[in-house]
Amino acid sequence: MQGNKAIEVSGLTKTFGTLTAVDNVSFDVSEGEFFGFLGPNGAGKTTLIRILTTLLKPTSGGAVVACCDVARHPERVRHEIGVVPQAMTSDLDLTGYENMDIYGRFYGMPAKERKERTGYLLDLVGLTQRANDLVAAYSGGMRRRLEIARGLVHRPKILFLDEPTIGLDPQSRQNIWGFLKKLMEGDRMTVFLTTHYMEEAEELCGRIAIIDSGKIVVIGSPEELKGRLPGNDSIVLTVDNITQDLIAKVEKLPFVHKSSVEENKIRVSVDSGANNLPGLIDEARSSGAKVLSASIHEQSLEDVFIHYTGKSIREEEAKKVSFLVGAGIPRKWGR
């Protein structure tokens, strides 16, 4: 891990009325790291990213991003970061190229550099052919790709991605993962990503923080986190006849952590499943059972999440509605 810190967060808290969206959160991200925030919707991911990208002021605590404190020098921080917000924010009335070019001008980039950079990035995200079409004619996936490219136009030191593939089809998601990885190979850029997709965190991130109800539950690399689970694989044995003797013998094995029975299947959490599968089968046979089939699957972040939070990723956030927006009167006024 590199020595220099790209992001340093300490004791960060953000409350909206009585709701604590981010609760005393502290963590560091090193330069060049691909860091992920994994949590269910409503866990506080977007609030956190909005504080780190200067759109919200923290209630207490602080964060240093790239160079400076986000609350004290937001304008300096904005120079150093690129952000792809969760909502689609490209301008529908402009072409893809115009979106990129005008964004570059917001950062005061000279014309020549903008042109080169825009050309390179549009090519990277595969939009060169559609560069001069209005964004209104783009698909959701294309729009998102454009927005990621736009967030990179001024060569930011840190790229913030808030749920970059939310609501996209699997193919678009793969596509975006593909060029994010390609990007990481080229630039030594720090990436901060939030997601509630396990596969995404696992596929892209070097280190992950699991966040739930505004608090960080655990931080580590995907491998580390999975390593902290009791066992690392699940084995399912299908046998002709399950006996108490069989269950007792299996549970006594040193590498078995947990077992459960379902019809004629016995499911066990084990350490290094591939090595221990033969031993498990031998033990089953020695109790007189006939093993019909066996399967191993590696434990995933989903198992990690369930282990640490006691629940799986779901639950929707109650969206704060302004008084003036279409929706509303405060809840206390009745339905």
Binding site: R50, T53, T54, L55, L56, K57, E75, R78, H79, I81, V83, P85, A87, M88, T89, S90, D91, L92, Y103, F106, Y107, G108, E147, R150, S322, F323, L324, V325, G326, A327, G328, I329
Partner: protein, 371 residues
């Protein structure tokens, strides 16, 4: 039936959950009643008329008495007595009074001799409705004095003797042109500038530029300047076309075009900045739509564009004192119909400038750069 009820219920629920829309639907008709009811009264009131009685004879005294009876009774006019004819006429020219009645020193003598007595009525005929009302009122007062041979000589043109074109009568149709131009500016200011910010916020696009190093001043003044460009173009187009439609022939000197340009530009800037102050934090276009109707009523009708400010009740008159549209209408009327030069409308321009400056500062200050 269930389906129909479901559609109705869905719609009613949405309506009930929009407190601003709900409040405005109740308030708007009442505001229309109060504002239009007071700015468009059936009968005009308190039109300021200067009376210069150089005669002070028995017959002129009766004319003045009759006029005072009108002022005290129906209150159509307010009488201001003056000794100096020149002072009275320049007061009309500057717009302080709507008309000046000059009773010459030989009036009573001529009435007695029945040798064609005459009075001079100098009318500010740029305001068609009030000048016609004054003409009828004064004519009535003079006739009722029993001097049936008196002919009222309208000398509207003499008020503006410098320019021959201005002798031409300004009809009601033409007198609406300044108001229409100001209306165009209002609509332009409403649909550009801050409205684009509201739309960006509604679509969630604002986040993309709030995340960049753009400052508050960049965002606010950038949107104001682009709105200024579009709106002034529209306003000039409307001015030229409406002058052609209503047949205003106006050959302005360069200085007057500068004055028109200054008035249109400053009014646009002022209204654009004011919109930022008012709707700068709104996040739904529907609210802008409602506010637009509301603001139009409270700014346009009390501006003097249709009915003279002099006839407004006191509270509405004081509102006209701060209403930027009232200054803009006054300035455009003076330039277009009285041939006023830049210097004659400098007080209007000074007010518009101050209004714009204050609104712009408040707009930048009030703009929230966080989500």
């Amino acid at each position: 039936m269930t389906r129909l009820l479901a559609v109705i219920e869905r719609d009613l629920k949405k309506f009930r959950r929009n407190p601003v829309v709900l409040a405005m639907s109740v308030l708007m008709p009442l505001i229309y009643l109060i504002i239009i009811g007071n700015s468009f009264q059936g009968k005009l009131k308190a039109l300021p008329v200067v009376v210069v009685d150089q005669d002070t004879g028995p017959h002129s005294g009766r004319v003045v008495e009759n006029l005072q009876a009108v002022a005290a009774g129906p209150g159509t006019i307010t009488i201001i007595r003056m000794k100096d004819q020149q002072e009275a006429l320049s007061g009309v020219r500057e717009g302080s009074y709507k008309a000046a009645l000059i009773i010459p020193s030989d009036f009573s003598k001529n009435v007695a001799r029945k040798s064609r007595p005459s009075v001079g009525l100098f009318l500010d005929n740029t305001d068609g409705i009030s000048s016609e009302t004054i003409r009828i009122t004064v004519e009535g007062a003079v006739r009722a004095s029993g001097t049936e041979y008196v002919s009222v000589r309208e000398a509207a043109g003499e008020v503006r003797m410098r320019d021959v074109n201005l002798y031409s009568k300004v009809d009601y149709y033409q007198s609406l042109v300044p108001g229409v131009v100001i209306m165009a500016i209002f609509l332009g200011a409403m649909t550009t500038g801050a409205f684009n910010l509201v739309m960006d916020r509604f679509l969630g696009i604002d986040e993309s530029y709030l995340l960049t190093p753009l400052s508050k001043a960049h965002i606010v003044s950038g949107l104001i300047i682009s709105g200024l460009f579009i709106t002034t173009l529209i306003a000039f187009f409307i001015l030229i076309v409406s002058m052609l439609i209503t047949g205003i022939s106006f050959s302005a000197e360069p200085g007057q075009w500068v004055a028109i340009f200054a008035v249109i530009t400053l009014t646009t800037l002022g209204l654009l900045s004011m919109m930022f102050v008012i709707i700068g934090r709104v996040n739904h276009p529907r609210i802008v739509g409602i506010l637009s109707g509301f603001l139009n009523v409270i700014l346009f009708f009390p501006s003097g564009a249709i009915y003279p400010v002099a006839s407004f009740p006191g509270w509405l008159k004081s509102f006209a004192l701060v209403n930027p549209e009232a200054y803009a209408v006054d300035a455009l009327k003076s330039i277009l119909f009285k041939g006023a030069a830049l210097s004659s409308v400098s007080h209007d321009i000074a007010y518009l400038f101050m209004f714009t400056l204050i609104m712009m500062i408040v707009a930048i200050f009030a703009f929230k750069r966080t989500v």
